[in-house]
Every structure is written in structure tokens, then in C-alpha cells.
Symmetry: C2
Subunit: 382 residues, 2 copies
Amino acid sequence: MTEPAFAGDFPDAEFTVRLERAQRSMAAEKLDALLITTEAELRYFSGFRTLFWQSPTRPWFLIVPAAGKPIAVVPEIGAALMRATWIDDVRTWAAPHASDDGVSLLTAAMAGYARVGMSMGRASALRMPLTDFQRVRDALPGTQWSDASVLLRNLRMVKSEAEIDKIRAICAIGSAAFERGTELFHEGQPLDEVFRAFKIELLRQGAEDVPYLVGGAGSGGYADVISPPSARPLQRGDVLMLDTGATRHGYFCDFDRNFAIGPPSEAATTANDVLWRATEAGLAVARPGATCADVYRAMANVIGQGDGDVGRLGHALGSELTEEPSLISWDQTVLQAGMVMTLEPSMVVAGDAIMVHEENIVVRDGAPELLTKRAAPELVAI
Amino acid sequence: MTEPAFAGDFPDAEFTVRLERAQRSMAAEKLDALLITTEAELRYFSGFRTLFWQSPTRPWFLIVPAAGKPIAVVPEIGAALMRATWIDDVRTWAAPHASDDGVSLLTAAMAGYARVGMSMGRASALRMPLTDFQRVRDALPGTQWSDASVLLRNLRMVKSEAEIDKIRAICAIGSAAFERGTELFHEGQPLDEVFRAFKIELLRQGAEDVPYLVGGAGSGGYADVISPPSARPLQRGDVLMLDTGATRHGYFCDFDRNFAIGPPSEAATTANDVLWRATEAGLAVARPGATCADVYRAMANVIGQGDGDVGRLGHALGSELTEEPSLISWDQTVLQAGMVMTLEPSMVVAGDAIMVHEENIVVRDGAPELLTKRAAPELVAI
């Protein structure tokens, strides 16, 4: 009678290809299975998308075997949605459970795998209780557990054209919303109202959600780029920056734009020019075969003052706001066609005031494809 | 020159009281420190609030010692915001780091604690790489690690009046947005447009974010309550349900409302009446001294068919969409004044169609305080 509300973000073929790539890598590393507990990785292999991850109550598990389709071990509340994906084998329990929140079901599903990979390294988390993870390990004494972070990163960092289409769409929505900035924002407007107006505009333009909107405004620059907005009104001489991670079909854009409230200071004008040229330098170097460190250095050389507070000058982008790898001095990851990256140069303007630029690109054979509408070379004044 | 954008959600006294309560519990359990890695717990003790948790790149650490103020060990990008909180001791590193993402800094800060508590139990996660957690444990061979999930749950589940004020405010915003439902939603409107219109309305009414909006619409009920919306237009005979977790100052509401598109079916009318009365039964029992299981049973007895797919009939609510404890048959947690809970009865209408009601309350001496504007007894028709 009722029908599943959600028809899925991709055709099954997308997941078949992802699984084949994973199983080739697993064979090379002699892994019998991957155990997945986190949202982005679970969605990558299953297509299971829900905001229900906001609730920390229930763990969710997906097993990717060396051969055959993934096996979902999930709370009953997610059964209908999981069965609407391409996954056939969906095992459920009534969660939350008094004493066994999926542990015995997961353990039974994993018996027989000698070598299991999990994300245990950079940028990873364990989204299940540590005590339950230990119970699973104790129940499978013959299993060898190894870090599959790099394997999973290498799979996810090269996007399919279907994924790129989705990121392109949300970047276009973000670009269209920023284009309306000069109408939406004005001197005297409290910063929290600026944020609210921009979120509404992003939704109007077609974003499904705005999980990330940060920014700042201050005289000639802003102090940090991760704070919630205050109610301080925009003032003449401010530089306003908004950095948005809006989503569509579960894929993010992640870029910012700067606006000068009234005529900008000379320092802000200069910094804006340096950052615009740093981005150009990044665009000129971001080619298959170049390393992340190469792109970092190209931008850092234009900036000439290190990387400020941000610690890196860009990162991969996809179903998470920030993905691996990073554009940073020590990251020797080689760029490949199909990688979606942010170029995010930042610099100190004066004192503790900084400025940040950001664009989103796809690495292509030849010049990268810009997914964002390139920022104007001059600071846009309001 | 620049000022921190964010002045904080609470006066310092709020955090002093939280720390004192924690340290009393820690003394009783002979813990020398708590190690915190997750957003809600870190914010509970520090006031550090940012959407930057969307980025999985960087781990964040807070140490709560048995005496003295918490110590923050955080990436440099968060230093300005952390220093704007009541925390004095803020230790930072340039993250992401090639080889040591806070491990040696955290280890040094934790040397000397013999017994360390962490959330390792129900509804917890480890928000740092497992390999780095193992490195910390290896570097502190004399440290005994124990599960502090229940200790932390017991602290967080009793809200201060300042916290209740924030939840009341976002519940009022949610109630005002739902009041406009009959104007916002109409037959023929695609479900994803229903979601978009409602998110915009929540923001207009004063929500800061809408991290959670799920729902469904189907003939006489809906199939599940965690799916993203499809583009299927609302049809006569549908029951539309929207369940929102909007936020203000980092605190959630979590409640739903049902709307009939055209005259409702007899089965939907009956189910709506049962669920409304089940909520009344929960309101009548939710008193200090009653257990979560008591409230569950009061509602389940009215429903008369178990708990459907949802697995519990309510839960605690606060800085997370769902917090511990749960209103479920086996949860013997005793209610205390100041606990903020959802009452969330659900039932099967017919076939695989279900309906869910939800209200948010504060347990008070005497009758609970309703934070949401009580749903009308009759299904609202559009």
C-alpha cells in the first residue's frame, strides 16, 4: 500500500562498479571483508541515505565481502529504507536493545573472515560503542583486523561522472545563491540574520540541506572561520565571508565568497588580489600526475606567508564536506582525473584578521573543470 | 582588531555547575579524568559550538580532570573559538599533521591520570582514529580505562533551567512553523517541496538550523520515518507526517505533526485518536520517581499492539536529537525533575502503513511541562 519514499540517488550500476573496485583492492591487500560503521562509507557502498544519523542511539553496520554483495546489519527502523537500496541481504534487530545492540548479529555475519579491514586511520572514527567493538573482537578471536583507511580513501577520492554531476549541481546552486549576495546582505544587518537569509536562499535555489554555513565579518577581515554568527551588525569597512557546505542528493559543495561592506580597505583589497591569484596558481597546477603538495606549494608561493590558521589550502570533497586527501605541504597523494577538490588559499590580512578564498574543481585531463562560478577578481562591494 | 564572532550560549556559571557535578560523580567512581572526543560531550563541558564537526579531518579532545578546569587539546583552527569559551588551558597543534595528529600533545596532557573514564557504552562513538587511540593507550601503559557512559548520561540528562529555556524556545519555533502547515502544504505538492517549504518556515520563525527533517506521506499512513523525501505529489487520502529536529543555540526540538490531505480514512482517524490518547497516558505518568519503562507501558497499553517499527516510544532530548535514556520496556531509569523527554507513540494503521505522534516535555514536580504546543486531538485536514 505504502511505497518507499526514497527511490535512491544512483542506478544500481553505480554501486556495482564501486563494489568491483573495492573487491579488486581488497584482493590486492588480501582482505576477506571490510567492516563499515560510518555514514559516508556506508552510503558509498549501499546508497542508504538518511538524516537519521543525527541520532546517536543506534549503530549501523555494513560488511563488504571479498566476493558477493554487501550485507547490511541494521536496526529494524532502517529496514524499509535499506531494502529499497540495491542491497539484498538486510539483517535487522529491534534497537535499542537492552543488552545486545547488533553485536551477536554482526558477529555471526562476520564469522569466517580471517582478515577484516576497517577505517582506523586519518580522518576516521568508530561509530559504535567501544565496548561493543571489543565484544565483537573477543567473539572472533581468529580474525585479524587491519587499517583500510587508505584503501577506502583511494576508492572514494576518484568520483564517477554521476557523482560529479551531483556535486556540479549543488555548486551551481551555491553559486546562484552567492550571486544574490549583494541583494541579500546590507550594512546594519546582524550577522546571524545574514546567515539566516543565505540559508533560505540556498534552499530556494534547490539545496536540500545546509549542514554547514560558517563565516565571519570584521573590520578588514575576520578572526576565525568556524564560529557561529553573532548578532553584530555589518559595518562599513567590514569584510564579510560566508563559507557554505550545502547538499543535494547527499553531495556537498564547499566554497566561500567575500563581500566588502562599503569601500574595502587597501589591505583587504590587496589580500583579495593575492588570494585570487593564488587560486589561479592552484588551477594551473591541478593536473593528473601532480601531487597535492605541488598544488599546495603553487598557492603558498603566491601567498608568501605560510598557510595561516587553516593548516591546509584545500581538500577533497564529495559526500562529506571535507574528504581525504589534503592540499598541504606533506601530502604526496598524486592527483587523478575525477578527483573533486577545493582550492582554499588563506592569508593574514593584518593583526589577527584573515581572509580565505575557495573554489571547487574536478581534476580533468588538461585544465581542471571549475564546478563553482569563479569569484570575481575584485572584492564585491555592498 | 577583530573580535570573536561568538559570545557563547551560556554564562560561565553554567559550566562551573556542570563541572562540579561531574567532579562529584568522578570522585564517587574514583576517576582521575574524563577523556572527551565527541561533539555533544565536548560542548557540554566547554561551550565550544561550531558546525565544523561536519569535517571529519580533525579530532578534538577535552580532558575533564578530577580537580580544576577542563583542558582543551584541539587543532589550531579552533583555537580562537575555544579561547572565547570559559576554558583557560587551550593546547593546539597544526592539524592535519603528517604523522602526529594531537597524539603526543594529548598523551602529555594525560600523563599522571591513573584512571580515565570515556564514553564506551550505549549510544557512544569514538571520534578519533582507532590507531591513534591505540597509540595513546600504548603511550600510557599505567592508565586504566573505564566506561563512563552512564556517568556522563546521568549528568547530561538532567537539564538546567538555562538549557530548558533554549529547548523551550526551539520547540516554540517548531510549533509556530507547524501552525502554518495548512497554508504551506497542499494537495499536488511534491513531498520534497513540502520539506523545503517547511525548512524555510522554520528558519524564518527563528531556527538556526534544521539538521533533521524526515517524514512521509502515503495513503492512510507512511511506510517509514527515516527516508529522504521523494518528489511524489501529495494526494487526497494521504496522511503527511513531518518530524523535525531544528536547533537554536545548539539545542534541538524533536517532534512531529500529522496532516490529512482531504478527508482522512477511518483507519487514520482511529489511529490518530489512539496515538493522541497514548500521549495523554504518557503525560499522566511522566513524574519524578516513575521509570522510563512505566511511561513506555502507559503509552503501549493504549496502543495495544507493541511498539511498531520504532522500537521505543520516546527518548531524552537536548543538544542531541536523541539522548539517553529511552522510553522502552527494559529501561529502568528513574525520571527526575529537569529531564527533557519526547513522548513518541507509534502504531501500525494497516498493512505496512504506520503513524507516529510526538511531543516534547520537561519532567517537573507534579505534571510535566509541555514544551511543544499540544497537537489537536483530531487529525488536521488540508
